[in-house]
């Protein structure tokens, strides 16, 4: 099997020849192999260079993109003032939504900025070079998470009580734009939409608020991107099983779930999640990217990786991953230790 066949097989809950290896690689890849972090996140030729070098050394089963896209390019396209420092992720300096009039203005935006075109060029370059042998995944965000970027997190959270009409109207305005930007990714060559539910996770929002404010607009976008041919793979932190959020996710047309952290130091037991989702969708594993991987020694990383793999052994629809974005400061020897364990693991014995 090549990487694309292996990942597709796992997503479709079919047998695989070995463990599909899909951690959140983008930030370390840009740090290890990019000439500078910003350009490797955002600029076509630099993206290509960094990810191709990374595949050569790490042999991941996908190319993962999108931190700069969701963190900087989308907010900038929707009128936020964003800075793009050379060595860190983009930073939103000023939000763009202060009133209903701003919502109406945003609804009419042409989102395809020069920076967005450059990013999409990078996806196209990668697609051409990868020759359909390695799939491309891109991080993406829900209308609610985009709304928090545009309005400010505290403001949106309090708007739910003080100005709920604005929260609904803003997301309604964002839904068609979110679909258009997602379609552009798919057209450029992204096969997996990695749908980050950053701000609506059950660490921050109650299931009641999720249902009232988030579920409908998110479903519209996920269902449409799935209809357009992408595999839609939501990523969410917090206890999605106990809070019942997973049941709402399963109402959408999704093909997998990547559970994030329960807290900074704990992750969800994927066996518990598997019991819940059964054979309906695939599951990504969730090694804590801020644990031994970031601050431990390679031996500890290898041990933790092995524990996760042993726990998952025999599970169909399983993909090895980290439970969220790996830090660009993850020591390379730690990433290599994790990678070695996954590549050498005897999955089918």
């Amino acid at each position: 099997m090549n990487a694309k066949e292996r990942m597709d097989a796992a997503i479709n809950l079919k047998p695989v020849d070995k463990v599909p290896n899909g951690p959140f690689t983008e930030a370390p890849v840009c740090q290890y192999f990019g000439s500078n972090f910003r350009d490797s996140l955002l600029e076509g030729p630099e993206m290509l260079k960094a990810h191709m070098k990374s595949l050569e050394e790490f042999k991941f089963d996908w190319v993962m993109l999108g931190m700069g896209y969701i963190g900087g390019i989308i907010p900038e396209a929707l009128d936020c003032q964003v800075s793009f420092p050379e060595d860190v992720f983009p930073v939103i300096e000023k939000t763009s939504i202060f009133s209903m009039a701003d919502v109406e203005r945003i609804a009419k935006k042409d989102v395809f900025t020069r920076r967005m075109d450059s990013f999409l060029d990078g996806v196209r370059l990668l697609k051409k070079e990868l020759k359909d042998e390695v799939p491309i995944a891109c991080e993406y965000i829900s209308p609610f998470t985009i709304a928090t970027r545009l309005r400010g997190t505290n403001e949106i959270m309090m708007d739910m009580y003080e100005n709920p009409e604005l929260v609904h109207a803003l997301q309604e305005a964002i839904v068609p734009l979110d679909i258009a930007m997602g379609k552009a990714l798919i057209d450029a060559g992204v096969e997996y939409i990695f749908y980050g539910a950053d701000m609506e996770c059950p660490i921050l929002l109650s299931p009641k608020h999720y249902k009232e404010f988030v579920h409908e607009p998110t479903s519209k976008v996920c269902n449409e991107l799935s209809r357009l041919g992408s595999k839609v793979l939501p990523h969410m932190c917090g206890d999605i099983v106990k809070t019942g959020i997973v049941d709402m996710l399963l109402e959408m047309d999704i093909q997998g779930i990547m559970p994030g952290n329960l807290t900074q130091e704990k992750v969800l037991d994927i066996r518990e999640l598997k019991e819940k989702v059964q054979d309906r969708i695939c599951i990504f594993d969730n090694i804590n990217p801020n644990g031994p991987l970031l601050i431990g020694k390679p031996e500890a990383v290898a041990l933790e990786t092995l524990e996760h793999l042993n726990r998952a052994k025999g599970m169909n629809g399983y993909i090895f991953s980290t439970s969220g974005t790996s830090s660009p400061f993850t020591p390379k020897e730690n990433y290599l230790a994790m990678d070695r364990e996954v590549i050498n693991y005897n999955w089918n014995s």
């Binding site: 505290n154 929002l205 109650s206 130091e265």
Partner: protein, 208 residues
């Protein structure tokens, strides 16, 4: 019933009732420090506990903190004597290169609600600013927040700078990517992964 009513109206995020109940309590001669400590401050402890237990979430924390601050505004002109004595000075900010503030704001509101004098330096704060402000205000605790893994190393540099400065302030850290192990690794004096935990930690450090 005045104090429980004040407490319950904060927990219920009801600003109007908070003001009404405080005014009623003052008319009835309830001591101001009783209203402050057993009404408003105690209410935020209840909210914090509910947050830790997963009974309330960030929007509810923010709204309750807003209700409590509305109550504090009503009380401020009447604060005298012991009620004016703050429990310590806490400096808080998100480190240089990081503009995320939701966690920092939650901690700031909760710590203020617990009776501390809070100096919020905002976001993107450089180490010199933390040091000079801590010195100028004789801060007891400095809280460093980061959401980005790229800005976490600044925390390590800040801890080192504080240790070298000889200032009395204890340094605690928090934020989405930060862990207890990381706090130990960089020699911070404490870590919390949530706002109520930060309040407890600060109380312990100041009492020590």
């Amino acid at each position: 019933m005045a104090i429980p009513d004040i407490l319950n109206s904060v927990v219920a995020m009801d600003k109007i009732s908070v003001v009404e109940n405080i005014n009623d309590a003052m008319k009835n001669g309830t001591p101001i420090d009783d209203i402050l400590n057993n009404g408003l401050i105690q209410a935020m402890d209840v909210v914090g506990e509910k947050f830790s237990n997963g009974e309330v979430f960030v929007p509810e924390m923010l709204m309750a903190a807003k209700a409590m601050q509305t109550g504090l505004e009503v009380l401020k002109p009447h604060l005298t004597g012991d009620a004016l004595v703050e429990k310590g000075t806490v400096l808080i900010g998100t480190v240089k290169g990081d503009l995320h503030d939701i966690g920092k704001n939650l901690v700031s509101m909760m710590v203020e609600g617990a009776g501390f004098n809070v100096i919020d330096l905002g976001v993107d704060v450089d180490i010199d600013k933390f040091l000079s402000t801590a010195q100028a205000h004789d801060a007891d605790v400095v809280c460093l927040s980061a959401l980005l893994t790229t800005t976490m190393p600044t925390m390590a540099k800040a801890v080192e700078a504080f240790k070298e400065s000889g200032l009395k302030a204890k340094i605690i850290i928090g934020g989405a990517p930060v862990t207890h192990d990381y706090a130990k690794q960089i020699n911070a004096d404490g870590f919390s992964d949530n706002a109520p935990g930060a309040v407890e930690l600060i109380r312990k450090l100041v009492a020590a």
